[in-house]
Symmetry: C2
Subunit: 194 residues, 2 copies
DNA sequence: GCCATCTTGAACCGATCAGTACATGATAAT
DNA sequence: ATTATCATGTACTGATCGGTTCAAGATGGC
């Protein structure tokens, strides 16, 4: 265990994540990753293996960070699915308005370019979206008189709305408009389960 | 007017459009465009000037083709905004399930990568989305008792839902799921204006 | 001190990128 | 038939792509 790494691996992943998030996988060059992390190609390659593997690390980091926030938002409203959904989507709006990170969403970005990603990375993107969906589905519970099929559809609808926020934020939709989308989505959930 | 073009310019734009649509601007190489159109670089450059200008031609073609279909769908339900919205989004679902064209949506794809596009192309993408929004807004009319602000928000919501279909279709959402998203969106419109 | 092990920067690899130069060939006006 | 004009295929440009090689240095065990 000699010759220790001269940098913090997590921080490097964090910075790489931000670049992928901003530019997408294809448009992010190794040079850009080196510049963002302050590392040389050797360090990057020696630590992560390839651009593709680093990308997956970035996806995982993204999924973990915002997955936790989604979880917390849903859990804060255990008895009101509409409120839970509003909080869930609110996490995304708050992330988008956060000035220290890009607009859009790494998952939406990657979903759009999924055909040009490696098989492993494409699978990871689908996994992350599935996880979102399962989380929402679980938060909806099993209200009486509502068929399972409807609950599954509502969960898909909420995940879709979440992705739509990413697209709209990219072209400059202002926060109030994003909030309106959230409110209308939550309203649709309420009337579907009510 | 000698030395006439040996190819149909519209068909070339059509084919280029499909490639951009499938892969995005960044991931589409000139070689790919040459292969798809069957043209040499000289013909492409002589006719369109640059990859960027060709991309804008493709955007315009896309906007015109599906803009017309959106218009027709909305116009078919002049007295029922929810039905109009369902038909509007139905156009997108039908396009997505059409086997001869890619999944996703050229506008959503371009919106996501708007930061890496040229200024002119980015502006065109915003224009196309604005046009979508105006169309939906016009179709909602001026129902009594509904504030303008709500109508604007509903229009933004519908455009966002339209983009969400593109993202979800990319990761393989089956048609029934897309239809469910459409139905829930239309339902939200109905209850917002009702 | 000396060695084995690991990290790192820099130089390098072939491939591919968007874009261009130019010779060839086809056309239609004269 | 000659000529001016345009379209096209081929071959090229310098830049950049993702990835690799390797020597130089840093470290801890001995």
């Amino acid at each position: 265990m000699v010759g220790r790494k001269q940098f913090d691996v997590d921080e490097a992943v964090e910075r790489a994540m931000t670049v992928f998030w901003q530019q997408g996988y294809a448009e992010t060059s190794l040079d850009a990753l080196c510049a963002a992390t302050g590392l040389g190609r050797s360090s990057l390659y020696g630590t992560f293996g390839s651009k593709d593997e680093l990308f997956r690390r970035a996806l995982d980091r993204y999924g973990a960070r915002y997955g936790d926030r989604f979880e917390a938002a849903l859990a804060a409203h255990p008895d009101d699915p509409a409120d839970a959904v509003e909080a869930f989507l609110g996490v995304t709006v708050e992330r988008i308005t956060e000035p220290t990170v890009p607009t859009g969403c790494l998952i939406a970005q990657s979903a759009i370019e999924v055909d040009t990603l490696s098989g492993a990375s494409a699978a990871r993107v689908r996994e992350l979206l599935d996880r979102q969906r399962s989380r929402v589905r679980a938060a909806l519970g099993e209200p009486r008189g509502v068929p399972d099929r409807v609950l599954d559809d509502v969960a898909a609808f909420v995940v879709a709305a979440n992705q739509s926020l990413a697209v709209m934020s990219r072209v400059g939709s202002p926060e109030p408009e994003l909030r309106a989308i959230v409110a209308l989505t939550a309203g649709a959930v309420a009337s579907s389960l009510g």
